[in-house]
Amino acid sequence: MTQDFEFLNRLGVINVAGLIKIAKVVKQRFSFSVSIILGILTACLAAPLLAPYDPYKIAAGLPFLGPSRAHLFGTDDLGRDLFSRVLYGGRITLLIAIAATVIALVLGTLWGVMAGIRRGWVDEFLMRTADSTMAIPQILFALVCISAVGASVISLPLVVGFLLSPTTARMARSAVVTELNEDYVVAATASGLTRNRLIMTEVMPNIAPQLLVQLSINAASAVMLEATLSFIGLGIQPPNASWGTLMLQGYAKIWNTSWFVFFPALAVTITILAFNSYGERIRVSLDSRKSSS
């Protein structure tokens, strides 16, 4: 009798699981956080069209002007238009963040999937390496790397991407290990699939939603790390400006012209919040799937 109920229950679960896995993740595309992310991305990409002034032009207005209709975010110490500078700064910050996120995803996934499928000493070696990498304070590690090779749009994504990859690797490994124990993966093994095909057709598509969560969280961390590095002077160098650099410049004048630091900081905050809440939403939708099964 109980078996019959269990059967019904399971049947229901599979319906829910399948629907959520396919439809719900897609639905997230239209959430509020995604529109924010897309909005910021478009604004920064379209900076040449949107920016009212040349961000590098000195004395576009008087120095230290407060926010007004002519200068939405005010002007800085050299009279440059801050709104234009935040838009252009966003391009650099987001470029670095996106590149770093992609690097972290690719490196971390390879790292974790390798550990998850090989197990044994390979697993042990790869995961202990990940642990030791995570044990080094991120800023300290970045500091050493950047001072060795110099800050540029090449070195920053590489360093930030590498710093984010061990967390991704851990997540990917645990997802792969869980997935390999799923009945349908064992069933696919039993029908003679090679290990590589198994990984490509059964495991990867099923861990993709989890990777998407990690991608989103990584993007937030990457924006944060880039801003932090720039803020302590290890990021993009003037006259180019990222949000971090702008915050560094504004911070010096925080007591007199607070908007100077406020707007770039606001941009960073909103972006990080949007990425995090997007990740959180996917995670929750995945959790409801897991908890019901």
Binding site: Q3, A17, Y184, A190, E202
Partner: protein, 335 residues
């Protein structure tokens, strides 16, 4: 046990032992079992949970993973010991020579892949061909396992189908490599009773049509009686009785088989009759009694039963692992 004969038998298992880790070492979950699966026959493997049925099935597919281990044993298929093959050499056997149908079809299919793709994939693993060609075969196969409108259903996702339908898909996948041996591991446990019947009939029909040899693992004695040619009774990792279905159900030799048959409830006879149970619990794998594992629960046990392990041997037309088998058969006949 006779030496393995690959002309008569699709599968021969000799002295297979599978161990699982336990406190202070390893214990045998499958303890030195041997049997033959004749070509074109169906063997029903029955036993309680934990009697080693499923581990035996997994060992045949070489799907035993750490920390569970195959300690010893030979499994002959087509004259070759498949346990001695390298992983790469064994790959074509999976699905190609020996295929498996799973207990729970709802979890045996990839939830985010169309069922068609999953069938096509396993067809192409065993015979390389274009996707279009494989798709045609897949549609045929879906039709042959009784799925209506296969050309439409092939593009369904698993969550769009019922449990019975999914089990048919799983069967289609199992058949896609033209395997000669089919293992059905509790294949209908997750289905409701009327669907069970239909799925089992399908397995039965397909096996007869294709001349497949089937290992029907179940804890439902009725299912085994109806669909199997031979019955293999397992208890605590050992085979306690093996014989033709007629013999096992009407003239069982081993006390455990008898107790198992007695505990079956049959409402057609007398609803008020209490269901007999076997006293005690099956022994935990890490705390097995020495000698005959069934002795502590056996009505006929005597001191000799706990002294040494009875081996599976012929008693009349049956094979049983019991020291008192001949005596019990005699008593039965006298009675």
């Amino acid at each position: 046990m006779k030496p393995a004969d690959n002309k008569l038998n699709a599968l021969s298992v000799r002295n297979l032992s599978v161990s699982v880790p336990a406190r202070g070492g390893r214990v045998l979950a499958v303890d030195n079992i041997s049997f033959d699966l004749p070509i074109g026959k169906k063997i029903g493997v029955v036993g309680e949970s934990g009697s080693g049925k499923s581990l035996t099935a997994l060992a045949l597919m070489r799907l035993i993973k750490d920390p569970v281990q195959v300690d010893a044993g030979e499994i002959f298929m087509g004259g070759k010991d498949i346990m001695k093959l390298s992983a790469k050499e064994f790959l074509p056997y999976r699905g190609g020579e020996i295929a498996m149908i799973y207990q729970d079809p709802m979890s045996a299919l990839n939830p985010i892949m169309r069922i068609g793709e999953q069938i096509i994939e396993s067809i192409r693993v065993h015979s390389p061909m274009s996707k279009q060609a494989a798709r045609k075969i897949a549609i045929d196969q879906l039709g042959s396992v009784g799925i209506p409108e296969p050309e439409k259903r092939i593009d369904s996702y698993p969550f769009e189908m019922s449990g019975g339908m999914l089990q048919r898909v799983v069967i289609a996948i199992a058949l896609s490599g033209n395997a000669k041996v089919l293992i059905a591991d509790e294949a209908t446990t997750a289905l409701d009773v009327s669907t069970q019947e239909r799925v089992l009939t399908l397995i039965d029909k397909t096996a007869t049509e294709r001349g497949l040899s089937v290992l029907l693992i179940t804890h439902d004695l009725g299912v085994a009686a109806q669909y199997a040619d031979e019955i293999l009774v397992m208890y605590a990792g050992r085979i306690v009785e093996h014989g033709q279905v007629q013999q096992v159900f009407s003239r069982s030799v081993h006390p455990y088989t008898r107790a198992l048959l007695d505990s079956k409830c049959d409402y057609t006879l007398d609803v008020t009759k209490p269901i007999k149970s076997i006293a005690g619990q099956p022994p935990r794998p890490d705390n097995r009694p020495s000698g005959c594992v069934f002795a502590p629960r056996c009505d006929f046990a005597e001191p000799a039963c706990s002294a040494s392990i009875p081996l599976l041997s012929a008693h009349g037309d049956a094979m049983a692992a019991c020291f008192r088998a001949d005596e019990l058969i005699f008593n039965q006949e006298v009675r």
